[in-house]
Symmetry: C2
Subunit: 213 residues, 2 copies
């Protein structure tokens, strides 16, 4: 009986993501998203409760393909199944790729890190693989905490790095020589390689068993 809806939450999330990718996260507002959809601001409130819910939709959309590249725990038909360690690394890197495709949503993903389905699926996959690597419940929880912490921090550092390059004013190189050298090294390092190296470091610390078979 009622007038049908002319929008979907998916369209709204896509519009918001377009705004973020084009103009940056600060440009995200109910007004800009509505304009992207050729609607007036208040029309959005027929679809989302408030701005926070819209942000959750964007995170869900942007992080949806997080598991597309990673094989995960399911059988993939290949005759040489990768070791749990390799699959864990692939899972971590798949999260980096998903965030890298839409760097602007990272602060949103961190803020709503609990209520996002793709992230929950990704964590479950992580735990499954940790279980296959021979870790029991408590060790799995600790390993998950270490891995998620590393990924969260590494991505945050990677995508806020431009601000770091600008030295705050006082003579940094003389006062902090080691830091200056480390920053130089970091500037010359491929971000993907730096991420992977750190991930391997954490994995080394987990003392995984060699493999399932």
């Amino acid at each position: 009986m009622p007038r049908p809806r002319s929008l979907t939450t998916h369209q709204i999330a896509a519009a918001a993501l377009t705004v973020i990718d084009r103009d940056g996260l600060p440009a995200l507002s109910m007004r800009t998203v509505a304009a992207e959809l050729d609607r007036r601001t208040m029309a959005l409130y027929r679809y989302v409760e408030d701005r926070e819910e819209l942000e959750c939709l964007v995170v869900d959309l942007a992080l949806g393909p997080v598991l597309d590249r990673a094989a995960g725990s399911s059988a993939d038909g290949s005759d040489d199944p990768p070791a749990p360690r390799a699959r864990l690394l692939a899972l971590l890197e798949s999260m980096r790729e998903a965030v890298g495709a839409h760097p602007g949503v990272l602060p949103l993903a961190v803020r709503h890190h609990g209520g996002c389905l793709p992230v929950l699926r990704w964590r479950e996959r992580l735990l499954e693989t940790l279980a296959e690597a021979g870790l029991d419940g408590p060790r799995r929880a600790a390993a998950l905490h270490a891995l998620v912490s590393y990924v969260t921090g590494a991505l945050e550092l990677e995508h806020r790095a431009p601000a770091t390059t600008a030295t705050p004013g006082p003579a940094v190189p003389e006062t902090f020589p080691l830091l200056a050298a480390a920053l130089t090294t970091r500037a010359a390092t491929d971000p993907a390689r730096a991420f992977g190296d750190g991930a391997r470091t954490v994995l080394d610390g987990l003392a995984l068993e060699p493999g399932p078979d």
Copy 2:
């Protein structure tokens, strides 16, 4: 010759920190900080360029005592100097304590993570200790990246955790059994212990040399 200043940037930062600690980060605004100092809003602009500079002042103030507890690399007079690994752990935990004293500033610290002097000092200490542990330049930079990433992510997770507890709606326990178990384990774990365990995991992965002597 001119009229003297009646405020200091330190007082302004302290007022802002008071607001954050009492009413939370969302309550921080030029107006609330000015009110805390019994001034009108615009008076603050004689001392800070804009809100961002005020935020940097708050971060500097809140994170100032980050090195107070950690012995660092200087001689501390004790007849049993701790191993580099123990000092690294102490440095990481000192950052956790500093942030824990003012959890509200964490998002600000992450946003301005490059231009904050206490953080630069803390990182330099980290690098000094890594050097004493026998790591050369490139390995130091990689180790710093791993450690800072872990600390950043772990603190972010620890202080945003309340939002995680609230399950987003759909049946999480059945769909993500391992995650549900891990969340239960995590809820029953002392945050300080969880942080330390993760930190030790990363340190294990760094393959440090036994000691300087």
